[in-house]
């Protein structure tokens, strides 16, 4: 218990107290607190256990760089794992729990790992748990080293996406960002400014200044008011820019209701903005680095800037006896500021010698002991730091034995220098360089229209940053064509010239300190010795070290650890940090809700199904629906208590004895017109289409350019130079696109127009021996008599006064008409068929019955009976190929040696000679002499059903040299069962095809 609430100050509303719980215990805070600041104000020190060693951890930072304070908030469907306490705005009734402690924070059973830490170096688990396989151990190890738990319920919240364009996007609402936005906004440009925090002002919230003779608070409010009033400017707080992509696309996520109690949230929880920005200005500030010294991870050890933020913004003092350890001026500013707020500073250890500092007169060195040329080399304390050990360091940064102090304290604030937040700039493809003056990677140039301003550039003088920011804002607007007047830049007090001494790791080798407890990455429990081990094991690239040690991974992505880690690498590899380089920065900047990316594309909207024209009619007839290639289609129609399988069998039988109706509207319908239409179709199809006369239909096979069977369908000739191309239901859009690709890109000389009219016409298939009798009940101008309208012909006319196209084609082997009428009439035509059909016992049938009928006939179904290797010779098109001389898509490919080899798998039928149940699709055909694998597969079953019309199970298959082997008995390996089959010609029902021509 060390942090406490200060009596005054802070941007909190002391009139609005809030209660919340942490690990089941009740606490109170104020409106304006974050969960982290409220915990500190309540004196809570241990807020988590570390990832691997389960060491007690406290809050390190005050922003998205926080590695330790990882929370699971709320419970049930609303629970969210792995949020940073520093980014959670406190609301009344908030429930938070730590994520990696069992059974509790105070006593964590796995903290035994901490005692074993010298035995668990980088990659220990991978190296140790190898036999029999890593995956045997992985679940247990993952549980021990876990973060939060994902909810077991569907996400109850709504999300949405918004797309916007703007001239200038400003990321970051600190002083530089605000001024840049103001400069751009005044020109009339479309400006968007976003800030992660609920409050505007950035660093000015921790470090208020006098600006233009007024307070920085007033200055901020004036700018925000002005921006909010500007009609072309959008102002978004609680919004994070998580990713920068190509061509100025920036992803934002806006937290709309996360700051409200769960019960008072309504509407959209989060919103993704996809912004296409002509110019982007990144004002993302800088993050402070911790010190890497032994036992630098004890609760109470915090970034100096975080300590100041808690005290200043939230009136939450980080502790009662504070030691500041620094290598730059900021540590002094921070200590002085805290002391003014009433926080006791017990000492400062500044790694620099006093002569190397440029501390201005305003820093009073007499208020507390200041140890120059010294730094922290170890700490003590279990659930809270209790003392700091200081040693003098030599020029190389090595702690010198003997010259030491032990200082009692409950808090150590670390200022290890600053790293500009370059993540978004780097994601954009921007180049970084290591800057010796700033001792940090700073942004340089970017191919995209993106610049950095403010502390994100590695420049920390506010006065200079304001001038540059105003300029950047004006520049961006004028490049977008807007006129900018001159901008008054506010004057600010103070100068911030500073020096920084590189201190990537405190070298404790001369005093017997333990590197194994000097943490570089707090979230992933990576120590300086892990980084060194990785390098000893020859992982020398920064990317390899990251993956081997997990340095810089997980939810904070190394925001506090990356640069120190690169510094440690420098010392071992003996090459400068500039050459070590950084790992690649990738989106998202901070974990982003997956639901927000999904937006409204969840549930029924995930992949909306298309409805048939007569959907209502199908429902009334008892249809059971399923998804077939994006269409919601009847599987079958259930009658009484029958099962789905019984219904399918009944339907398949009824059609061969009477008449059935089937909605075939999804069949692709592409009209092809023009003087070169026939020539074009000849080039697209294996079959010759140019000889087709008006009113005739022809079955066609289409290949892709690799020679693989791609689609089949019936092509009809409406009149000269005007064809109606039928495609399978699933391929309609793809084939329409293919036609256009060939016409636009390859055969630009052909005079052809195509039009995909699939959804303009509904089709009802009237199928079975009584089909003609049923259709003749309708007032139709088409003469259906068998001598004038033969199999494989088509007619246009009017049906009940509505235009219709009728094709006499059959996928069942029965007399069959596909009647197409305009989509809007499909439903009423279906109803009329049901009522007129009652006298014929008309049977509505679904896809599965049609599949039985076509398998009985041995008709192939592209995609079931063919695969990505099937060429037309394999499915009986050899003779047609031999007749056709001209070129077509895929022709040359089916002349390749592989396509003409003799042992190809061919399309055949199988008769089950073992038993009465169908083979399973996918069952393998074994070579002669084999009854079980291992064996070379000779092919497999591609379609298989029980045939109600022949009273036996039947199958189709692709089998090596199949067509030479009719009559041969073969062994089938069917999911562990060995069964027998005879190879037969496909099509066991009415093999002569007499029923087609009645």
């Amino acid at each position: 218990m060390s942090g406490y609430r200060l009596d005054k100050g802070g941007y909190i509303d002391r009139n609005t107290p809030l209660t919340f719980s942490f690990e089941g215990k009740q606490y109170s805070g104020f409106d304006g607190d974050t969960l982290a600041s409220a915990l500190i104000a309540n004196g809570v020190s241990v807020i988590g256990r570390s990832f691997k060693y389960h060491r007690p951890r406290g809050i390190l930072g005050a922003g998205l760089d926080e590695p330790n304070a990882i929370m699971q908030i709320e419970s049930g469907p609303h629970t969210i794992p792995n949020l940073k306490a520093t980014g959670i705005e406190l609301y009344d009734g908030l429930q938070a729990n730590p994520v990696n402690a069992w059974p509790s924070l105070a006593f964590d059973a796995l903290s035994i790992n901490s005692l074993l830490s010298r035995f668990i170096p980088a990659a220990f688990y991978y190296k140790t748990f190898m036999w029999p396989h890593w995956h045997v151990f992985e679940p247990t190890i993952r549980k021990a080293a876990g973060l939060g738990v994902s909810p077991n319920f569907p996400d109850p919240d709504r999300y949405e996406k918004r797309f916007v364009h703007c001239d200038v996007l400003v990321i970051g609402g600190g002083p530089a960002g605000l001024l840049a936005a103001q400069a751009a906004s005044r020109s009339g440009a479309r400006v968007i400014i976003v800030e992660y925090d609920p409050e505007w002002g950035g660093s000015l919230l921790n470090d208020p200044k006098e600006m233009d003779g007024t307070t920085s608070d007033t200055w901020i409010q004036k700018i925000v008011d002005e921006l909010q009033e500007a009609p072309q400017t959008t102002v978004l707080n609680r919004t994070m820019a998580f990713g920068v992509y190509d061509h100025g696309l920036i992803g934002l996520v806006e937290r709309v209701t996360d700051h409200l109690p769960v019960s008072s949230r309504s509407g959209v929880r989060q919103r993704i903005w996809k912004v296409r920005a002509a110019h982007t200005i990144i004002a993302s500030g800088a993050m402070e680095r911790p010190f890497v010294f032994p036992n630098n991870d004890r609760p109470g050890i915090m970034l100096a800037s975080a300590g100041e933020t808690y005290a200043r913004r939230y009136a939450a003092a980080p502790g009662k006896r504070v030691v500041v350890v620094t290598n730059n001026d900021y540590g002094h500013y921070c200590a002085q500021s805290l002391q003014k707020m009433g926080v006791e500073i017990v000492a400062i250890a500044d790694a620099r010698l006093q002569k190397n500092t440029l501390l201005p007169g305003q820093i009073d060195l007499n208020n507390y002991p200041v140890f120059f040329g010294m730094t922290v080399t170890d700490t003590s304390g279990r659930h809270r730091v209790r003392s700091a050990q200081l040693h003098a360091i030599d020029d190389s940064g090595k702690a010198i034995s003997g010259r030491s102090h032990n200082i009692d304290c409950d808090t150590i604030l670390m200022s290890g220098g600053w790293s500009p937040v370059v993540h978004l700039f780097s994601q954009a493809g921007g180049k970084l360089v290591f800057d010796a003056k700033a001792q940090a990677f700073i942004p340089t140039s970017c191919e995209q229209n993106i610049v950095c301003v403010g502390a994100a550039t590695g420049e920390y003088s506010l006065a200079k940053n304001l001038i540059d920011a105003a300029k950047a804002g004006s520049n961006a607007a004028s490049k977008s064509g807007f006129k900018c007047g001159s901008m008054a830049v506010p004057s600010v007090e103070g100068s911030e010239a500073s020096t920084v001494r590189a201190m990537w790791q405190v070298d404790v080798s001369a005093i017997g300190g333990s590197e194994q407890k000097a943490w570089v990455d707090f979230q992933n429990d990576v120590t300086a010795s892990d980084v060194k081990l990785a390098i000893r094991e020859n992982f020398q690239s920064v990317e390899h070290v990251k993956r081997y040690t997990t340095l810089g991974m997980a939810s904070d992505q190394g925001k506090t650890s990356n640069v120190n880690g690169i510094g440690v690498m420098e010392s071992v590899l003996k090459k400068p940090m500039a050459q070590v380089g950084t790992t690649k920065f990738r989106p998202p900047y901070d974990p982003t809700t997956i639901g927000a990316f999904a937006g409204r594309r969840v549930g029924e909207n995930f992949a909306p199904l298309r409805a048939l024209a007569a959907e209502q009619g199908h429902k009334e007839a008892g249809a059971k629906f399923d998804d077939y290639g994006g269409w919601k289609r009847p599987v079958c129609y259930l009658q009484g208590a029958e099962t789905e399988a019984e219904a399918v069998q009944r339907e398949a039988k009824a059609i061969r004895h009477g008449v059935g109706i089937f909605e075939a509207s999804p069949l692709g319908k592409i009209e092809v017109f023009g003087p070169d239409a026939a020539k074009f179709l000849n080039r697209m199809y294996v079959n010759i289409m140019s000889t087709l006369k008006a009113g005739q239909c022809r079955y066609g096979i289409m290949l892709d350019e690799n020679g693989v069977v791609f689609d089949d369908g019936v092509l009809g000739c409406l009149k000269e130079n005007h064809f109606l191309v039928g495609t399978t239901s699933g391929k309609a859009a793809a084939i329409a696109e293919q036609f256009e690709e060939w016409l636009q890109c390859e055969w630009t000389d052909l005079d052809v127009v195509t039009d995909n009219v699939t959804s303009a016409w509904s089709i009802i298939n009237v199928n079975g021996p009584n089909a003609r009798d049923l259709l003749q009940k309708f007032d139709c101008t088409v003469d259906l008599s068998p001598d004038v309208f033969k199999h494989m012909q088509m007619r246009e006319g009017r049906l009940a006064g509505v235009s219709c196209r009728i094709q006499r084609v059959s996928f069942s082997g029965e007399l069959s008409y596909e009647v197409a009428i305009p989509w809007a009439y499909g439903a009423s035509f279906w109803q009329a068929l049901i009522s007129e059909g009652a006298a014929f016992g008309v049977c509505p049938f679904g896809i599965e019955a049609l599949m039985i009928l076509r398998i009985e006939k041995g008709y192939l179904h592209v995609g079931s009976d063919t695969d990505g290797m099937t060429v037309p010779q394999d499915i009986g098109f050899g003779r047609i190929l031999a007749k056709k001389k001209s070129d077509f898509v895929g022709r040359r490919s089916i002349m390749r040696p592989d396509a003409v080899r003799k042992n190809r798998r061919q399309f055949i039928g199988l008769e089950n000679i073992s038993d009465e149940s169908p083979f399973r699709v996918g069952a393998h055909i074994l070579p002669p002499g084999k009854v079980a694998p291992p064996a070379h597969t000779q092919g497999w079953v591609t379609s298989s059903v029980y045939s109600p019309n022949t009273g036996k199970p039947i199958a189709l298959a692709l089998v090596e040299r199949g067509t030479e082997r009719y009559g041969e008995e073969v062994q089938i390996w069917d999911l562990g069962e060995s069964r027998r089959a005879k190879i037969v010609r496909p099509g066991v029902f009415d093999p002569e095809g007499r029923r087609l021509h009645v």
């Binding site: 190509d246 696309l249 350019e705 690709e741 390859e746 630009t748 490919s893």
Partner: protein, 96 residues
Amino acid sequence: MLQINCPYCGPRSEVEFRCGGESHIKRPGPPEDVSDAEWSEYLFFRKNPKGIHFERWLHRFGCGRWFNIARDTVSHEVLHEYAIDMPAPTIIEKTK
């Protein structure tokens, strides 16, 4: 996500388009005169430059037209958009 300037519709997001890969590939023929090697070259072999790439795109959810672009595969900068039947423009690559 790229922003592509469709020559017929103007700038649109990549999600509206389909990339058809390398452009200006000549389809050899007639089939009987084409060697296996020549055909496999046409079918399978594609350039993979670090730099300027000429490729064809379809404005699939727009005008439905194919066109060519010259794109820098390093920076993703689109340097030219031109009609499908136009020859590839001459571009002097920026030295990087």
